[in-house]
C-alpha cells in the first residue's frame, strides 16, 4: 500500500474579493458541492460571473467533517448512474484540477453479517454489474485476504458471512478536494466570498432576484442553494418547505498508526465504517443521532456503539487511542436520496438531502447542478431527483445502500 506524500500548498489558492452588487449566479455554501458547482458552471457552461457565498470559512462545514469515502455501489439505477458519474470524475480529478487530491482507489468492502445481508449484497453486486459499476462478492476467506485485519471468525457475535467489494472505490483528501476546486474556480473568475452569511432570499412574483447577506444585498439572476445541513432554513427564506430533517452525524479518528488497514470497510449491521487516512489515523464513522439537531455534535452513546462495533470487527484496534471526535449536520430526506433540481421559485435551485453521502458525490453533484443552473432544467442524471417525487411517489429508496442508518 502506497501512502503518498502531501503536496506543498501554494501561498494563495484563491483571491479573497469583496462581494460585488450583482452576479449572474449566486451559490450559497462554499463546501465541496458549492465549489464544484461554481467550477463546472465556469468550465462546462462558460458562466463566470458567479459568487460562492460562505457564512464561515471555505469548506469548513460538512466538507471538513466527513470520512472521505468514495464509492458508487448503490442499488437503484438512478443512484448508480449519478454516483458512478461522480466516481469517473474523481478518477481524473487530480489531473483536471492540476492539484493532487490524494485519491486512493484502495477498494471498499461492505460486510454482510446475516443471511438477509448476504442476499441483499449479492443482489446489489448483480445490480451494479448491470449498471456498469464494478462489484464483486467475496467469501469470508477472500475478505480476510483482502483486508487481513478484519476478524472473520465465525465465533463473533455478528460473524462476517462475506462482503461486496468495489475495487474502484476508496478515499480522497477532502481538504485538497475543496482547495483544488476553489483554486480552479477562482482562476476562471468565480468570486469566493467567505464570512458572508445569507440572511434572506429576495423573490419578486415567482422569480428570485437575489439574496440579503451580512455584507449587504446581492442581486442575482439565479440563486443555487448548496448548504447541506441548513437547507430547510435557507429554503424557508424563499417560502419553501422541504422534506428534509437535520441530524448530527459523528465520526472520530485514532492517533497515527503504522499502515494496518489497506482498504475501506463498512458494515451496516454492526454499524461502523473504517479506513486509514493517508497520514495514518484510523477514521471511524458512526450513524446519525436519532433526533433533529443543528448542534454539530452528537451523543456519546453513538460513539460508544461505533467503537464497540469497530472492536468486534477489528480486535487489533483495542489499544488504539481516540485522538478527536466531531459531528456534522446532515440533510436527511425521506428516501435517503438527494434533491437536486428546480424549485417552485423561478431561478432558485436546490441541492440538498444527500444525508450521509454528500462527499462521494462532490464532482458529480457539481457537474449536474451546474448543468441544471445553466440550462434551467436538470441534467439527465439528476432528472429523477426532483422535489416533486415526494408528491408523485417516484421515490428513490436508497436506505439499504446508504451505509448509515437514517
Amino acid at each position: 500500500m502506497a501512502y503518498a506524500e502531501s503536496p506543498e500548498h501554494p501561498a494563495g489558492l484563491w483571491r479573497n474579493p469583496d462581494p460585488r452588487r450583482t452576479y449572474d449566479v449566486v451559490i450559497v455554501g462554499a463546501g465541496g458541492h458549492g465549489l464544484a458547482t461554481a467550477y463546472y458552471l465556469a468550465r462546462n457552461h462558460g458562466i463566470t460571473n458567479v459568487a460562492v457565498l460562505e457564512r464561515g470559512w471555505l469548506a469548513g462545514g460538512n466538507m471538513a467533517r466527513n470520512t472521505a469515502i468514495i464509492r458508487s455501489n448503490y442499488l437503484w439505477d438512478e443512484s448508480a448512474a449519478l454516483y458512478d458519474h461522480a466516481l469517473r470524475l474523481w478518477e481524473g480529478l487530480s489531473e483536471e484540477l492540476d492539484y493532487d487530491i490524494l485519491f486512493s482507489q484502495r477498494g471498499v468492502l461492505n460486510l454482510a453479517h446475516s443471511l438477509q445481508d448476504v442476499r441483499d449484497s449479492v443482489r446489489r453486486v448483480e445490480a451494479n454489474r448491470l449498471q456498469g459499476v464494478d462489484a464483486e462478492w467475496l467469501t469470508p476467506e477472500q475478505v480476510k485476504e483482502f483486508c487481513p485485519v478484519v476478524n472473520v471468525s465465525q465465533d463473533a457475535r455478528y460473524p462476517v458471512l462475506g462482503a461486496t467489494l468495489q475495487r474502484r472505490a476508496g478515499i480522497a483528501k477532502h481538504d485538497h478536494v475543496a482547495w483544488a476546486y476553489a483554486r480552479a474556480a477562482d482562476a476562471l473568475g468565480v468570486d469566493l466570498i467567505q464570512n458572508c452569511e445569507v440572511t434572506g432570499i429576495t423573490v419578486r412574483g415567482d422569480r428570485v432576484t437575489g439574496v440579503e447577506t451580512s455584507r449587504g444585498p446581492i442581486a442575482a439572476g439565479r440563486v443555487a442553494l448548496a448548504a447541506a445541513g441548513h437547507s430547510s432554513l435557507l429554503a424557508g427564506m424563499a417560502g419553501l418547505r422541504l422534506p428534509i430533517q437535520s441530524h448530527p452525524l459523528q465520526a472520530l479518528v485514532s492517533e497515527l498508526l503504522e499502515p494496518v488497514h489497506p482498504c475501506v470497510v463498512m458494515s451496516n449491521a454492526v454499524h461502523v465504517y473504517v479506513s486509514q487516512a493517508h497520514k495514518g489515523e484510523l477514521v471511524l464513522g458512526a450513524g446519525v443521532d436519532q433526533y433533529n439537531s443543528y448542534g454539530q455534535r452528537g451523543g456519546f452513546h453513538v460513539i460508544r456503539q461505533q467503537m464497540a462495533a469497530a472492536l468486534e470487527l477489528f480486535p487489533a484496534f483495542a489499544r488504539a487511542r481516540v485522538l478527536r471526535t466531531w459531528g456534522g449536520v446532515v440533510d436527511v430526506s425521506p428516501d435517503a436520496s438527494p434533491i437536486v433540481g428546480l424549485t417552485p421559485v423561478d431561478g432558485l435551485y436546490l441541492n440538498c438531502g444527500w444525508g450521509t453521502g454528500g462527499f462521494k458525490a462532490t464532482p458529480g453533484a457539481g457537474w449536474v447542478y451546474a448543468h441544471t443552473i445553466a440550462h434551467d432544467r436538470p441534467h439527465p442524471l439528476n432528472e429523477p431527483y426532483t422535489l416533486e417525487r415526494f408528491t408523485t411517489g417516484a421515490l428513490i429508496d436508497e436506505h439499504g445502500a446508504a451505509a448509515v442508518a437514517h
Partner: protein
C-alpha cells in the same frame, strides 16, 4: 447524552427512548378527500427549526408511552415535557 424527562418515569438517559419527530401531527380526518400534494405534506413535510422544537419521544425501554418534549435543536436544552393532551409548563426563554 441527553436526559429526557419522561412524564411518568422522570429523567432518564436518552438511550432508553425512541425519537418520533415533530409533535402535534394530526392524521387527516377525511383521508379520501386529500389531494396528492396534501398527502405529500402529511407524509413527508415536517418542521426542521433551528431552535425550540416540540417533538415526540417514546420511553421505549421504560413505560413505553409517547409524550411531547420541548427541546432546543442547537443547545439540546430541554425546557419541559408533557403527556398527550396536556400543555407543557415552560419558563419564559
Amino acid at each position: 447524552m441527553q436526559l429526557i424527562p419522561c412524564p411518568w418515569c422522570g429523567d432518564r438517559d436518552e438511550v432508553e427512548f425512541h425519537y418520533g419527530g415533530q409533535a402535534h401531527l394530526v392524521h387527516p380526518a377525511d383521508p379520501d378527500a386529500l389531494s396528492d400534494e396534501e398527502w405529500a405534506g402529511y407524509l413527508f413535510l415536517r418542521d426542521n427549526p433551528k431552535g425550540w422544537f416540540e417533538e415526540r419521544w417514546s420511553h421505549a425501554a421504560g413505560c413505553r408511552r409517547w409524550f411531547t418534549v420541548v427541546r432546543h435543536t442547537v443547545t439540546h436544552e430541554v425546557r419541559g415535557s408533557h403527556r398527550p393532551g396536556e400543555r407543557v409548563a415552560v419558563s419564559a426563554s
